[in-house]
Every structure is written in structure tokens, then in C-alpha cells.
């Protein structure tokens, strides 16, 4: 597949929402297939049927939750980019925490705080791992060392 670059900011929201939905749909489908298979009564056909039912019933809901998370995250991320005029890991961490908090808004303040902390820590971990990988792989992309001979000798 070709190189996949992220869209510029306002369109990134739609893109992230779709990516999260696809991820939730496929990943949730696999997860629900296993869960439905295990929870079904014995007999291979019943198990497959249970698996199918679980996929049909649950995976769109998981996908929808993922999509809401992704869309909200991206919206806050873009808002922060607009107001802070820079893109750094703090944007992601702040928007992760804010997304967790906002999406738990109907469950009361303690639940909001818990979700916000979970969201922030999760995004901080993701960003940290990303920075770590960048640091580790930076050596491979280092330029060849500059020529040591005097440039005048080339003339």
C-alpha cells in the first residue's frame, strides 16, 4: 500500500473518525467472534451461530464507540492546534484526557475524572512510545558523515 499521510487539520477529524470506526468494526468483530464462540452452548454449529450473532449485535456498537472517541479526540486536537499554534505530544495528551472526561459527562463527576485520567495516561503512553521509537530509529536515518577532505581540493 502507498504511504499513508494524515490529512490537514479540519479534514483529519473525519479521517480519524473513520479510521477509529473501521478499527473498532474489524477488531470488535474479531473479539466478539471469539467471545460469542466461547459463550455459546456446545456444538460447533451453535457455537458458530453464537459467534455470528455476537458479531452482528455488538461489533457495530463497539465501532460506534471507537468512532465517537476518535472523532472527539481529533476535534479537540485540532482545536488545540488552532489555539496553541503548535503540534506537540501535549496536544494529544490533553485531548485524550478531555475526550475521556467529556464522553463520561453523563455519569457524574467521579466517573469523568477517572475517565479523564485514563484517557490522558493512555495517550501519554502512546506518545511516549512514539517518541521512544523515533529516538531509537533516528540512528538509521542519520546522514552519512560529511566529507573530511578539504573542499578546496575539489576545485
Amino acid at each position: 500500500m502507498e504511504e499513508y499521510a494524515r490529512e490537514p487539520c479540519p479534514y483529519r477529524i473525519v479521517d480519524d473518525c473513520g479510521g477509529a470506526f473501521a478499527m473498532g468494526c474489524i477488531g470488535g468483530g474479531v473479539f466478539q467472534a471469539i467471545k460469542g464462540y466461547r459463550n455459546a452452548p456446545s456444538g460447533i454449529s451453535r457455537r458458530l451461530l453464537g459467534s455470528l450473532t455476537a458479531i452482528k449485535q455488538r461489533s457495530p456498537i463497539i465501532a460506534g464507540n471507537f468512532a465517537v472517541w476518535g472523532g472527539m479526540f481529533s476535534t479537540i486536537d485540532c482545536t488545540l492546534v488552532h489555539f496553541r499554534k503548535k503540534e506537540d505530544p501535549w496536544n494529544s495528551i490533553i485531548s485524550g484526557a478531555a475526550t475521556g472526561g467529556i464522553l463520561a459527562a453523563r455519569n457524574g463527576v467521579p466517573a469523568m475524572a477517572g475517565s479523564a485520567i485514563i484517557g490522558g495516561v493512555l495517550l501519554a503512553l502512546i506518545e511516549g512510545v512514539g517518541i521512544l521509537f523515533t529516538r531509537l530509529s533516528a540512528d538509521q536515518f542519520r546522514n552519512p558523515s560529511p566529507p573530511t577532505e578539504d573542499p578546496q581540493s575539489l576545485m
Partner: protein, 197 residues
Amino acid sequence: MSADYLSQPLSFADAAPSSRNTQTVTPLSPYLNYDPRYLQAAQPEFIFPEGAAKQRGRFELAFSQIGSSVMIGAAIGGTAGFYNGVRATALAQQTGKLRRTQLLNHIMKQGSSTANTLGTLAVMYSGFGVLLQWVRGEEDEINTLLAGTATGMLYKSTVGLRRCAMGGGVGLGIATLYCLYTTATSGSKINFNKPYM
């Protein structure tokens, strides 16, 4: 020395400060004393090796298609849910805080279910589209038609053969309408080399 030149602008004036006194080296331009070995002029550099034939394929468009389907579904479902919620709460004579919560429940329920349905359809369509593009190795309107049909059939695949076929027919119909629309707006006959969608 190995690391700090990365953060500096490119200049070789003090690349080897110990070997020679570089104060006397004053080049005409910082761009002229560049080692020609680094300019690989031997082979041409194309972004895509085949030339300009490569276009943005389905995979690049898939996520935005899915995302816009989800968002449109959420908007439609939310509006319908608001309408239904207003009616239902008025019928049940709920007021104040109770009515507000019930309205929110209606909007969330209907909005998310519509969004999920449309998004799942989009995921199926994009998946089939990417798969067909990959298998057939080209991108044209046959892909659109096949992907639409397959999406309809897969979506209705668990409720019996007849309705599965009906779903496939509906998918084929929508895909055909879309193809006709795009060819009508592009002002040509059906163009089987048209990229994307």
C-alpha cells in the same frame, strides 16, 4: 561532532577544524562547496516508478468515506431521534429535567444506531473496494458495482437467501445510480479508467 551537525545548517566550513586552518577558506557561496558525490544524478527520481499512472486509490479514501458516513448517520439519526423524542415526551407528559434526559436518551440511541448502520455499510464497501482493487490490479467502475453488490449481499447475508439477493440488488442499484451520476457529471461515456470511488 557526529550529532551536532544535524541541528546546524549545512556548512562544511568547519567540518575538519583540526586538520587545517579553515579561516582562510572563504567559499564563494555555502552552496557551491558541496561534495558532488552526494548529488546522485545517475538515475532519475520518480515519486512513482511507473510515472503518472498511479493515483490515489481506495485505501487513501476509505477512512474519510467511513468517517463521513458515520458523521452523516449520526446527524440524521440524531435529528430523527430529537423529533421522535419531542413527540414521545410530549405524549408521556414529561417535563423539565426528566424530559431533557429522555430527549438526550432518544437522540443518543437513534443517532448512534443510524451512525453504526451507515458506518458498518461504509466499512464493508471500503473493504470490498480495496480488496477488489488489490485483486484485479486496476481501479474502475466495475469495482464500484461489484463492491456495492457484495456489500448489500453481506449486509443481508444472515436473513435468508432471498433477502440476501435483494440486498445485493439494492447495492447494485445504488452503485449503478452512482456510476451513472458520476459519468453524467463528468460529461462523457462510461469511463472504465476513471480512478477512485
